[in-house]
């Protein structure tokens, strides 16, 4: 509620601002639009880009050329400019987003520099370094948007609308997927997120934001030249976003506003303090920036956030998601692993293992450390392809397919080390599990269509139900990073449950738990099995395993050592030798 009031005040104040501050307001709003794109790209998805100004330039030059040379309407050229930006983003993005680590920002610098130089040198197209002037002002029917006052409504309006869109996206399934893709691509992929695709999508989105900013810039200054779209400009936008706090929408607004005002303020005050015989503005700017980051490495916004009213957690409504379709009737082979082999260079991790999990079964996969159990899991869930052999799930061949293909078929897993996203709440973490059961795409989430449709609420309700099943519902709105180990493991199970899987792969869920916690875990798993979920569980706690499973598969050095009912396997001399290293006389 307060936000809307503040917003209204901001707009109402525009006509009363002195003229120079109106100019600054426009520059701030345009920078904010770019910075919002960076919020999506860097804050949500974790990709650094030093090339946003190049996209601005692309759009700015498009509209400049179209409106001056071909006398198009600026509104038409906006569409063309955005389309061009989008196209360029798809092309550049397909190369760039696949890059890992430091290659990514370097690639953005690369095409930023290349585009800047092209802008300056294709004289017949872009007017070269001298640029293009006499760009017409915008007209909205009878209204002319020439004056900074009138233009301020447009730019501020755009910034606010786009911020709302960002907020919608951030609190949707796509936002969760992007955050997941950032911290830990493995988890995201394991829950159905098509990493390259959504990374490309958010990259294009950020480029479109920058394109809009470029168009606004061109029709505000009515002049374009290569300089505002060069590497230094890109750097300054990243600086604004990071100084304010790139992982919050409020942060990017704060950073943009503060640093724009800072520039003007330094101009006024430094000559008074240090004289006019040298320019100290950029030096002071750098020092202040360094100071901000030293005191607030995550940006300034967290300081302000403490004073704002707390974000109310979403209301969980009753309806949950529709159940996913059941592909095959009961008591058939659900998972079949045949002759599975995986080599890592010279190391043979899994060597020709075969086993099956039937519908409604609980199968234990045990073996000493290094036997290849987690590798098996990774092969089944598609993290890497097998060297030989095949895996079938419900009759489909899944070996060699990527995780985001396999998961929606009905396999969900937990990890040996809990892979949670500490900054997100418990509920949001679990909601990631519903990703494959929901459909709203990037665009739909931007405009809030997923909430209008009720899909988002249903997903959260589903996640809440999963939390209830594991007994963590009371912690739904806590930050996941605060949870102790036992609850983190339960959280992982809840996340897997939220995807309503037919087969649950649990990787050492009891490791590090105390006796009482293990008992509760065992009860939970038994309930799940009784409810019809098939489980393939890896663990070292024999009591837990033997008391829970229908069948045990024993692995050793990547091969299947034994298989059968728990009691038989426990007495198997080869199994005992593998675990204990000595032949043991078994009494009875």
């Amino acid at each position: 509620m307060i936000r809307w009031i503040l917003l209204g005040l901001a707009f109402a104040a525009i006509p009363f601002l002195p003229p120079f501050y109106l100019t600054l307001l426009n520059f701030m709003a345009i920078s904010a639009v770019v910075a919002l794109g960076l919020y999506l790209l860097t804050g949500l998805a974790g990709m650094s880009s030093f090339g946003q100004a190049a996209f601005m330039g692309l759009a700015a030059y498009t509209t400049a050329i179209a409106t001056t040379r071909w006398e198009w309407s600026p509104w038409t050229s906006l569409i063309v400019a955005l389309a061009l930006c989008g196209l360029a983003a798809v092309v550049l993005g397909s190369v760039t987003v696949r890059l890992k680590g430091h290659y990514l920002p370097l690639a953005t610098i690369a095409w930023q520099m290349a585009l800047s130089i092209l802008m300056g040198n294709l004289v017949s197209v872009t007017g070269g370094h001298g640029g293009i002037s006499e760009i017409p002002a915008l007209r909205l029917g009878p209204l002319s948007l020439r004056d900074p006052r009138e233009y301020g409504f447009l730019t501020l309006g755009c910034a606010v609308l786009l911020a709302l869109a960002c907020a919608q996206l951030a609190s949707s399934r796509m936002g969760r997927a992007l955050r997941a893709a950032r911290g830990d691509g493995v988890v995201a992929a394991s829950f159905g997120v098509n990493l390259p695709l959504i990374r490309l999508q958010v990259f294009v989105l950020a480029a479109l934001y920058a394109g809009l900013a470029g168009w606004l810039h061109a029709h505000f200054l009515r002049f374009v030249n290569p300089q505002p779209f060069g590497l230094e400009a890109s750097m300054r936008y990243v600086i604004m976003a990071v100084a304010g706090g790139v992982d919050r929408i409020g942060g990017v607004f704060l950073g943009t506003g503060l640093l724009t005002l800072l520039g003007s303020w330094l101009q006024d005050i430094l000559p008074v303090l240090f004289g006019r015989t040298a320019q100290y503005e950029v030096i002071a700017y750098g020092l202040i920036l360094a100071g901000i980051l030293l005191l607030a490495p995550r940006g300034l916004w967290p300081f302000l956030e403490a004073y704002l009213p707390r974000h109310r957690p979403p209301l969980i409504s009753g309806h949950t998601l529709p159940a996913p379709p059941t592909p095959i009737p009961r008591s058939e082979v659900l998972l079949e692993v045949r002759n599975l082999t995986k080599n890592f260079g010279g190391l043979v991790a899994v060597n020709g293992i075969s086993f099956a999990v039937h519908r409604g079964e609980v199968v234990g996969l045990i073996g000493p450390n290094g036997a290849g159990k987690t590798t098996c899991f990774n092969l089944i869930t598609g993290l890497y392809p097998p060297t030989r052999g095949e895996i079938r799930f419900a009759g489909h061949l899944i070996s060699g397919r990527p995780p985001f293909f396999i998961h929606p078929l009905g396999i969900a897993r937990t990890f040996q080390q809990p892979h949670l996203f500490g900054e997100m709440t418990v509920l949001e973490n679990v909601a990631l599990g519903t990703y494959s059961r929901t459909r709203s795409g990037m665009l739909a989430c931007l405009v809030g269509w997923d909430k209008l449709r009720g899909e988002e609420q249903a997903a959260l309700a589903e996640a809440y139900r999963a939390l209830e099943r594991v007994g963590l519902a009371h912690l739904a709105h806590e930050k996941a990073g605060k949870l102790p180990l036992a609850q983190q493991r339960l959280l992982e199970i809840a996340r897997a449950l939220a995807s309503s899987p037919q087969l649950l792969l649990l990787d050492e869920p009891a490791a590090g738990l105390r006796a009482r916690e293990k008992q509760e875990l065992a009860q939970l798993l038994r309930r799940l099995a009784e409810g019809g979920t098939s489980i393939l569980i890896v663990d070292h706690d024999m009591d837990l395993i033997m008391g829970l499973v229908d069948r045990v598969v024993v692995m050793h050095y990547g091969e299947k050592l034994a298989e059968g009912a728990p009691e038989g396997v426990q007495r198997n001399p080869r199994v005992l030798e593998a675990y204990l290293g000595l032949p043991v006389e078994v009494a009875g």
Binding site: G46, L99, I239, V282, G286, L293, L294
Partner: protein
């Protein structure tokens, strides 16, 4: 395109490549130990010869005052943090810097100026680490990068204030030219090549063979693990920055006679050095050096065929190379934070 032109272009490419390579190895050095992408390395490259130029001209350069100011700030932070005797060293250092500098300026002696120029850059490098990066050891790579950008603005802005907008000319250590086949090369080039080669081999050996070097690497890979095995992170960072500044200062002093020195000439080469470093995966010195030669040669040939677009070509050709390199490591894993 005859043999002479080919030879000249290749020689030109190698010389440029060596410049970028020196910057590349310093960037790799600092990054592998501290995870800081130290953008102001280019400014430091220029500060040494510029300081020298002013000193031999009997002027006291502002860079000495800046170095002293950094040292004083260091001392103050140490005292505030509780250190007692150790806290006096930075102050002493500042006094020595200014005193020594005044003496050097008054005599105008080249030898003193050389020493001081290298010394002030090394002191600036290590105190930059101490003041700006050491206090926030757990920040993200992006935060460090933005901090570096801030320092780049500071150092470049101060460079204009201290040294003015024009270039300075420095007398070469090895005057004259030598003939390499059809290609005449200034003798000073060999000093630069020699230095670069020595550094690449030394760093490679240091980090891959010596225990101390491996300890430094461990700090960047896993801080907690390194501390648990008794490696002092703080010292590691300081050693890395000291070494890097030393390489930069020496390199700058040897290069300036070839290229002239100005406050603005450091940034773009450091960018290209960064390109070369990434081509080496930001971990390997020999690969970074090779990458740098590649960038230099590509630039030399582009300057011949399409000089207006030479930089665009160099940067644009990076993209397919990066793409190919990223394909080599095919994992599902996510992007680094």
């Amino acid at each position: 395109m005859d043999a002479t032109i080919l030879g000249l272009l290749i020689a030109d490419g190698i010389t440029s490549g060596v410049i970028y390579g020196l910057l590349a190895i310093t960037l790799v050095l600092v990054f592998t130990v501290t995870r800081v992408l130290f953008v102001p390395m280019g400014e430091l490259l220029m500060y040494a010869p510029l300081t020298y130029a002013l000193l031999v001209d009997h002027k006291l350069p502002g860079s000495l005052w800046l170095g002293a100011a950094f040292l004083v700030a260091w001392g103050v932070l140490d005292l505030l943090g509780g250190a007692r005797r150790a806290g006096l060293f930075p102050f002493a250092g500042a006094a020595v810097l200014v005193g020594f500098g005044t003496w050097a300026a008054s005599t105008g002696s080249p030898a003193l100026a050389w020493l001081l120029a290298v010394g002030v850059v090394v002191l600036m490098g290590i105190s930059t680490y101490r003041l700006f990066f050491e206090p926030i050891p757990h920040a993200s790579v992006l935060t460090y990068l933005i901090l570096s950008l801030g320092l780049h603005f500071v150092l470049q802005g101060l460079g204009l204030v201290f040294f003015g907008p024009e270039q300075y000319r420095i007398a070469p250590l090895l005057p004259g030219e030598a003939q390499l086949g059809p290609v005449p090369l200034p003798r000073q080039n060999f000093a630069v090549y020699g230095l670069a080669l020595v550094w690449v081999l030394a760093l490679y050996g240091f980090f891959s063979r010596s225990l101390y070097g491996k300890a430094l690497l461990a700090c960047a890979i896993n801080r907690r693990g390194a501390r648990l095995t008794g490696i002092r992170i703080r010292d590691a960072g300081r050693v890395a920055f000291t070494l890097a500044s030393l390489i930069c200062a020496l390199g700058g002093m040897l290069l300036a006679p070839l290229t002239n020195a100005a406050y603005f000439m450091g940034f773009i080469p450091s960018l290209k050095g960064f390109v070369a470093a990434v081509l080496g995966g930001l971990v390997s010195y020999p690969l970074a050096a090779v990458g740098a030669i590649l960038v230099g040669t590509l630039e030399a040939f582009s300057a011949f065929y399409a000089s207006a677009y030479k930089e665009a070509i160099v940067f644009a050709l990076l993209l397919p190379i990066l793409f190919v390199q990223s394909l080599r490591t095919l994992e599902i894993g996510g992007v680094e934070e």
